[in-house]
């Protein structure tokens, strides 16, 4: 196990830097919403999803039912349904640990595991497990540090929740650059603005998602070829 940790650690350094800083930001926001480091520890242990935990902070001010929260989680994290596909075989050999590996497949852990292999003297199963455990420990540590810092340093936090908006904007811009067709991104914006104007801010989530999925399904014939084109071009590189 010691060998596996030694082999895994260097690969996880970039994730460590990212998780510690985003985790700290999350902990600060969560503390600001009235939840101390114990809560931060629990949510990062049990949920372990970056963007989703930022949105979750807004759930804790009340107003949304559990069904709305479940639907929002389903849609926001829908992409994760594909991550396991790349690891059916490798995780399949790990016995009951495979369920932890599936649980721990965040965006970062997924992309890291896709690209790395253990050195010859290290067992692949232990190596995978170490990478996953190290990554989650960074995330938990970051959010606990953030929550503790938020409770010790007192400053005017008004407006700090804009960090969440900024995070989504950054992801949106990165996806805008990565996608050849901007129809899905624009569909998301247009549908949600329309729903917001129609029903107001309190109940916009589910109608927006329904409208987005329906619109995207209606445009499937038109949009799908643009995505395929993208994939072919990506393959030629």
């Amino acid at each position: 196990m010691k060998n596996a940790i030694k082999a895994a650690f260097p690969y996880t350094i970039p994730v460590m830097l990212g998780y510690l800083s985003i985790g700290i930001a999350f902990g600060l926001l969560f503390e600001n919403a009235g939840y101390n480091f114990i809560w931060a520890f629990c949510i990062s242990l049990l949920v372990y999803a970056g963007a989703m935990q930022f949105i979750a902070v807004s759930f804790f001010s009340g107003g949304l039912g559990l069904i709305q929260i479940a639907v929002m989680t389903l849609v926001v994290n829908f992409r994760h349904i594909f991550y396991g596909l790349s690891f059916l075989e490798r995780f399949g050999k790990m016995g009951f640990k495979k369920w932890y590996m599936a649980f721990a497949l965040t965006d970062e852990t997924y992309s890291l595991l896709c690209g790395i292999k253990p050195p010859e003297n290290v067992d692949d199963k232990k190596f995978l497990l170490c990478v996953a455990l190290l990554n989650q420990s960074y995330w938990i540590a970051g959010s606990v540090i953030g929550a503790l810092a938020g409770s010790m340093i007192t400053f005017n936090t008004q407006g700090m929740d804009f960090a969440m908006t900024a995070l989504f904007l950054v992801i949106f811009l990165d996806q805008w650059k990565a996608y050849r067709t901007h129809i899905p991104a624009l569909t998301g914006l247009v549908c949600s603005i329309a729903v917001l104007a129609a029903v107001g801010p309190a109940n916009m989530v589910i109608p927006s998602m329904v409208l987005i999925v329906i619109s995207l399904m209606l445009m499937r014939k038109a949009v799908n070829p643009m995505l395929e084109e993208e994939r072919e071009e990506g393959g030629e590189k």
């Binding site: 559990l66 349904i81 991550y83 596909l85 804009f162 996608y179 914006l189 549908c191 916009m204 989530v205």
Partner: protein, 111 residues
């Protein structure tokens, strides 16, 4: 905390269960890869950018365009994030910079 301990714990459990369900689904549903319905593949491709667009609007949903300060602090801060990100493409810089701009605006300028 506006919610009780029990309500808060329920929220965490629901998010946890749905997220884990999604991540574990391939191991339950597709024992052999390559048998994924095309509709799921399509949605998996187009949903992420659409959802990010929705989340941005969700974050900005409480702006009142007809009331002082007319969403001006948000407009300036959003522009700052986009500008910083197009300039340096550094996630942390864009997020911290934009948030600092917004906090300054709502605490000192548009009080």
């Amino acid at each position: 905390m506006t919610l009780s301990v029990g309500e808060s714990a329920m929220i965490i459990l629901v998010i946890s269960a749905v997220t884990f369900g999604l991540r574990a689904a391939p191991f339950l549903l597709f024992s052999r890869s390559g048998r994924i319905p095309k509709v799921i593949v399509y949605l998996g491709n187009v949903l992420p950018p659409a959802v990010m667009g929705m989340l941005i609007i969700y974050c900005l949903k409480n702006i009142r365009l007809v009331q002082n300060p007319y969403g001006i602090p948000e407009l300036i801060a959003v522009t700052a994030v986009i500008g910083l990100h197009l300039w340096r493409r550094n996630n942390l810089l864009s997020i911290i910079g934009g948030t600092a701009v917004y906090m300054f605006l709502v605490q000192f300028v548009f009080v």
